[in-house]
Amino acid sequence: MHPEHWMSVEEAGLFCRPANLYIDPMLPVTRAVVTHGHGDHARSGHQCVYASALTLKIMTTRYGEDMAVSPLPLRMGESVVLGDEHDPVLLTLYPAGHILGSCQVLLVYRNTRLVISGDYKRRDDPTCPPFEVIPCDVFITEATFGLPVFTHPPIEQEIQKLLTSLRVFSHNCHLVGTYALGKCQRVIIALRQAGYHKPIYIHGALEKLCKLYADEGLELGELILVNDVIDKQTLTGEIVLAPPSALNDRWSRKLPDTRTVLASGWMQIRARAKQRQVDLPLIISDHCDWPELIQTLEEVSPQEVWVTHGREDALVYQASRMGFKAKALSLIGYEEDEENG
């Protein structure tokens, strides 16, 4: 049966009726599946939550032990049967390549396959397994960077920009805005891979998630809390990571002569960087750029494409040009602050 008869957009979010299951719901519900740990997808207060063990760990780190009544970890590729046993919905998770623990959700109902890809990317990311192409009838994709102006340069090139700036502006503290989950740890690892082995200083809001990544065996090197630095003047010429909201906040005023850096896919649009009063924009994204979105549509090659949050107009248009039936799903609430780009 076509998914438009068993999937709907409700106030809480995308809903699968025969499984009584919400996908990344915004409001507390009885049964949810959560694709990944970013705050706009993973909320607390649900009854049962299906997710990868790592996503559940991230949610516990963020919201505490009682973030849900029954957290139900699923391994990648492991299926669970939901709904009426004579008319079941099969739920399976697959890697999405977005951040640690991120998954796509495959729902199979009456021989029809629907993939909700959540947020995803196609670049190498040492913190998570790569996106897997899952054949399906309907493919639901995000479109955060769904315009042909977005082509993300290699992360190595962007990290070099930061290292060059550190050399040229050696008297400035380089304050780098990175989203606390995923972006932060990816930037740290990329710095280490580029040969930067000095301690990296972090804002308190990044501490727990960095520890979680380190506990999962990802080498982040020496991290020091800015709060533990007694003489802040010693941060001259050092790298300090903070959530983007702290860049122009009172918190950053105690740092010596800052040069403001922001790592985000949005930084490709110079006016965006300017709006954020950024001195050095780094185009580093955990989402697909335009060529990757197109590549993914080609590889998945579904019957139909549904586009969720982002620049949906352009991607719907492009998918139609490529011969897919396509439509936009208006899901509100995701990507409100645009800080996890």
Partner: protein, 532 residues
Amino acid sequence: MEAFSELLEQLYFTRGTKAKATLIEDYLHRTPDPDRGWAVAALAGELRFDFFKRNTIKALMLTRTDPTLFALSYDYVGEMSETVAHLWRPEENKAWTTPLPGLATLVDQFAVAKKQQVPNLLAQWLDVMTPAQRWALIKLGTRGLRVGISARSMKHILANYGGVSINDIEALWHGIAPPYSTLFSWLDGTGPKPDIANQVTFHPVMLAHPLDEQTRQKLVIKDWQVEAKFDGIRVQLVSKPSGKALFSRTGDDISHAFSDLLDTIDHHCILDGELLVMHGAKIDTFNQLQKRLNKKRPSSSLMASLPAAMMVYDVLQYDNKALSHLPLSQRRSALQSLMAKMANPRLHLSPCYDVTSHEQLALLHHSLCKTPENEGLMLKRKDSHYIPGRPKGIWYKWKRDPLLVDAVIMYAQRGHGKRSSYYSDFTFGAWEGDTLLPIGKAYSGFTDADLKKLDNWVRRHTVGRFGPVKEVQKKLVVEVAFDAVHLSTRHKSGLALRFPRFHRIRWDKPADEADSLDTVKALIPPSSHHGD
């Protein structure tokens, strides 16, 4: 070109005039003539021709991309140059070769290229440039560089570079042309100061600051010359043995549009004043002047029915004698005798008011604000020299309070430049019965925090879209401020507001309590009902 593109990139992201000035000075030191002169011209907004039109770029871009995707990208990015810089895909792996030619070579190539050669030339360069270089070339070629350097700050930088006074640079500026080789040889100490005495050039005008209540109360009235503030446009009339011209306040030559005024001038002088439409001594409305401003070459019947005149308030030069270093009181007496000598019916002396107390000043302001040809009054220190730019505490304008109405937001569009990708351009309307009719558009008057809130509101309340324009639920009331309202056949509501801007956002106010069209119409000054 690499150096220029890099400079622009740095200037774009660098905050603070001082830091920007350091970057430019450094560039001037390490860049040879004539490249650096063209860079100065580009940054100061002194390039006098477009390399290519925006339409040429757009047409060229559409040969390489899908029109719908281009339109959606442009709508999102909010800026043509950057959209093209990112969207451009080089033909057959030509990508990114170095070195590119110098800036002057590129300027020359585009200057001599025939119209039909331009697209090929442009495509050829876009193919081999990085996105940042493409952006620089398009910005340069369409004269749209906005990297936070004003013409004035460029002059400061040049003065600093050569160790000369800013006033020297100002005085020379409109008599020299890019790539400024004579200027640079003077600044480098290898040549004489350029001589521009006989040229008919624009002299940057002196501007006034708005007067706030606190400052006003502290003024010692007897030190100030008080004049009406006329509702026309600021002009400078330059008449020399070698020729004459009328300039706008930004230095644009508008002589041809106002030849009826200019033809009557036969004395040699530089006058500062307000351009108005006048029937003898009677001043017509700004709305009528607008009809003249819209015509670059007006017909003789238009010139006869709406004759141009000038309300003169200052004199900078007379018979080749510079007067700008004299105090205003002395310039005023020189102006009075000059005006008497000229006895030109098109030139009127701006009257000074005899005011001796704060009470009288307030009364005068009140009465001047009631006449449609004025928009308040001017206060100028009697001992002030004529200083180009907007020096502090010397000249003030005390304008009429703005008019206010409560209007309802109807449509929103994304902004450009700094506000690209935010919904920041709003069409608002007033009620006629139970229908809303649009009465104007506003882009300003809100804070960055308001802007974010408005943007969010638009996204959540969109009910339809027409290309880049979003129609929103008719729910949000804004208090709109504007300088005047006139009848106009151009808009469905029959009204046109002058300089509308947000005054306050009334998140609390229900839309049905916004003002009616009749309330807005009641604000039309009585004398302008005949027009339009």
